[in-house]
Symmetry: C2
Subunit: 202 residues, 2 copies
């Protein structure tokens, strides 16, 4: 059983994925993927994060090279990261029994018989979740936080769209889309795990 | 507990709604609403179906009057049906504990604290479901059947959009979007019922 979780920033997708993995006894992958991609490409986690999470893959190598002092870019650095991302995710999938959160796994594993979940929530609920988890030194106004949320989602969306035919938020790419606005994630995970299992009963 | 089911034609939303109502001990409303609206408006079920299901509400009364011989239209006939639709659905909601399938209930009950589900599937799966349930005398080609499916969904969408701010297929209007393409509805309903109950545990 392989489950991918795509998620809006602040929707609790990561918590949901972690709890789901625990509930179903599956391996869990999230930020570990960044470390592995960095190792494979002989770069570092900041750089991989920049390429995959901050929209860096959209910029030409000579443009970003000026603004990213901590790497020595080669013209193929971005391509290397994108290729490594795909290899790492496909290797994990080949080992089976896992939950992969984010990193465009749902799109990269197109054609694989896996269970795809999209986790989302309304703005108010996402703001509250971000507030409750923000570092103490983060002093963003609601407006700034919303702007940050939207930017992160936009980057997730466009990285996904690089790999997939279905748009990031399109229902057609998922088995289930779960709105966490009025849910306590801890409470919904056990029946959600049963629901996923029931898809495999025929 | 009030659950509304919006569904693509052929996705099995009706079966899912019926089984969910049985599982949770809720009243079930579907075509019964058409009968009730017809009674309230002193018209008949064919006419109500025409207005609500076949896009009739979009046409001006004097245009459709010519092609619908079995009614004596008044200029307000369509409005009457739309008003009755809203009254009937709100009355049922006021009694609580029910599952309402279709009839734009999700949109008409905006602002109500209810559980909204959207049921969908891929084209192949919907074609197979339609084939298995079609009347014996229905001899449509795949192309004709797909065209029919799309037309029905288009009518459902535009009637919904008359009442709601969120588009018919937008995740933001739902608590859960369920893809039935690779699911046996009978198998997924019991855990789905538990999942819905878990939303109410805080």
């Amino acid at each position: 059983m392989i489950i991918t979780i795509s998620r809006e920033f602040g929707s609790g997708g990561r918590e949901l994925g972690k709890r789901l993995a625990d509930q179903l006894g599956l391996r869990y992958y999230d930020k570990e993927l960044i470390t592995e991609i960095a190792e494979k490409t002989d770069t570092n986690e900041n750089y991989v994060n920049y390429v995959l999470e901050e929209g860096g893959y959209k910029n030409h190598v000579y443009v970003y090279a000026r603004s990213i002092p901590y790497i020595t870019p080669t013209p193929s650095a971005i391509t290397d990261v994108l290729v490594a991302q795909q290899n790492v995710i496909k290797k994990i999938a080949s080992e089976g029994n896992c939950v992969i959160v984010g990193r465009s796994a749902s799109a990269i594993l197109k054609g694989y018989d896996i269970f795809r979940i999209f986790v989302y929530a309304d703005e108010q609920s996402k703001l509250e979740r971000c507030r409750s988890r923000a570092p103490e030194d983060e002093n963003l106004t609601d407006k700034q936080l919303l702007k940050k949320m939207k930017l992160i989602d936009k980057n997730r969306q466009s990285l996904h769209d690089l790999f997939a035919a279905d748009e990031w938020t399109s229902r057609t790419g998922y088995n289930l889309m779960v709105n966490t606005s009025h849910a306590e994630i801890k409470a919904i995970v056990p029946p959600l795990a049963e629901l996923i299992k029931s898809y495999y009963k025929k």
